[in-house]
């Protein structure tokens, strides 16, 4: 069992409250996943700049002078914002690949959580309330975001095993369920050049979608392909720079509820997660159909 929450804002007036809304939703889903929690939040970044979110088990050591070291390596300006075990590094967008390579040299123990123009990912082991507080998620602004509370089944309870998983620029995926053919799909994706950080089944789902997007397919097409190529139980919620998608396997035993108003589209593993959203009393509320792809793009 796991809990998923998601929010895609249509009304810019709600953007300053995205972090608070997602935090409330995430904490409500603690019963479904008390092991670990994570959140991916998207905001409209500065034009021409990109962000890399990194995680360290020893932040005091790894983050000390990290911005200066990266600036020296790139020869370009770098901004750093440290939040507990994570740090967000901002740099010119054309420096992202160079920065990833430099970071692997400068701080080999650090993990990259996400990179892109809009995305930031924060995830850790612990109760959702504590994870959200640690990263001050409630203060964050943004256009859309996805959160996950994990009750582990397929792999260990570790920071890297928490969701969301990001396997491409500005992409992320969260999952409720378990995939049964992930080892085979992982082998195939490795052969095609994708890289993996964990033995986790969900990371394979994320990499599968990222690979399809790399090949030029749309988010809708990539999600359609999960229905034929991935075996097992899944409700996936996927984020991209401009979009938000949902797909459930044909058996659809993993729960999903959606709500839509003029102001937002919301996803929850249970209706409970959405009861505090503005206007929920009059929202259109439905269960996404099995084997059907839903997505919204701005």
């Amino acid at each position: 069992m796991c809990g998923i929450v998601g929010l895609f804002l249509k009304d810019p007036k709600l953007e300053p409250h995205l972090g608070q809304m997602l935090t409330d939703m995430l904490i409500t889903m603690t019963d479904r996943g008390p092991d670990s929690a994570g959140i991916a939040i998207y905001s409209t970044g500065k034009v021409g700049s990109g962000k890399i979110t990194v995680q360290s088990a020893t932040p005091d050591v790894d983050f000390e002078n990290l911005d200066q070291d990266l600036k020296n390596a790139l020869g370009k300006p770098v901004l750093m914002l440290v939040k507990s075990t994570h740090a967000v590094l901002e740099m010119p967008a054309d420096q992202m690949d160079a920065a990833r390579a430099a970071l692997a040299q400068l701080r080999p123990g650090m993990k990259i959580m996400s990179s892109g123009e809009g995305i930031e990912i924060y995830k850790e082991v612990g109760l959702p309330r504590d994870v959200a507080a640690r990263f001050e998620v409630a203060k964050m602004h943004g256009t859309h975001g996805i959160g996950h509370t994990r009750m582990a089944t397929e792999s260990a309870v570790t920071t890297m095993g928490a969701h969301p998983f990001s396997t491409g620029a500005d992409q992320c995926l969260v999952h409720n369920g378990s995939l049964s053919n992930h080892n085979g799909v992982r082998r195939e994706l490795k052969r095609l050049g994708m890289t993996f950080e964990t033995e986790n089944d969900t990371e394979v789902g994320a990499a599968f979608v990222s690979h399809k997007l790399q090949e030029g397919e749309t988010l809708g097409q990539a999600l359609e392909a999960t229905l034929t190529d991935l075996d097992g139980f899944f409700t996936f919620v996927v984020g991209t720079k401009t979009g938000f998608g949902v797909v459930r396997d044909p058996i659809a035993c993993k729960p999903a509820v959606m709500a839509e108003t003029d102001q937002y589209v919301a996803f929850g593993s249970e209706y409970r997660a959405m009861v505090s959203l503005p206007g929920i009393e009059t929202a259109r509320i439905w269960e996404p159909e099995p084997a059907t792809v839903y997505f919204w793009e701005r």
Binding site: P250, A252, C253, P255, V257, E270, Y271, R272, A273, M274, V275, I285, W286, E287, P290
Partner: protein, 229 residues
């Protein structure tokens, strides 16, 4: 009228108060406010009360109900009225997966749509759905009646025993060993009664339904059927 604020008073206190009503009671009218999608609301009631939930519920609302009439003025989460024994449960909105699962008696009315696995393994319950039902509904259903005013999803009545299924709209596909059967006068009488008790008399006529039932070929293991199991 006993009004119970679920947010302020808590779920255990509600269910304990309801379980304390044994047999006959003068406290017959109950109202639950602020349900906010909570799980296990009014589970295990065994008294002839009338309880209204003002809002939507989470998992297992009205599970194992006996005698009570329970109304949900909203939508219900998974497993509503699961294993109901008697009484009536009426959902004004939609119901999530496995509504009325394994129900042994009583009446479940869903005024919106029901999701997948509605009436799975039903054993005597009557279920009336004003809208549609999802895939794998009435899987291994043993007895009782399912009346659907809308459409049915994939694999309706797979591995069906003796439950009667009546569908007014389309059936996306029938499950293994489920077939369309002739409609006889006694079936029309059953439908008329279900429409009346299911608050749907104004919505449909008995003649508009088709009947589906078991072909009775999978009842006991037969090696010739091995590919169908």
């Amino acid at each position: 009228m006993q009004t119970f604020d679920l947010e302020a008073q808590g779920l255990r206190a509600l269910n304990q108060a309801l379980h304390d009503l044994k047999g006959q009671t003068n406290q017959t009218a109950w109202e639950v406010v602020n349900p906010k999608g909570s799980h296990a609301i009014a589970v295990g009631v065994d008294a002839p009360i009338d309880l209204t939930v003002r809002g939507s519920t989470g998992y297992y609302c009205a599970g194992m109900n006996k005698q009570a009439t329970i109304r949900v003025k909203g939508s219900a989460g998974p497993g509503v009225a699961e294993n109901m024994m008697s009484g009536t449960v009426i959902i004004d909105g939609d119901a999530s997966q496995y509504a009325g699962a394994t129900g042994r008696g009583g009446l479940l009315v869903i005024k919106g749509n029901a999701s997948s696995r509605c009436g799975i393994s039903m054993k005597g319950i009557d279920i009336v759905v004003h809208g549609n039902i999802g895939h794998m509904s009435c899987f291994m259903a043993q007895s009782g009646n399912m009346l659907v005013l809308g459409d049915a999803g994939d694999a309706l009545g797979d591995s069906l025993y003796e439950a009667r299924l009546f569908v007014r709209g389309s059936v996306k596909s029938l499950g293994t060993d489920c077939i369309e059967k002739e409609m006889r006068p006694e079936h029309l009488a059953i439908i008329a009664d279900l429409l009346k008790r299911g608050e749907a008399e104004h919505l449909a006529k008995p003649s508009e339904f088709k009947r589906y039932g078991s072909a009775r070929k999978l009842y006991t293991f037969n090696i010739d059927n091995a590919s169908s199991y």
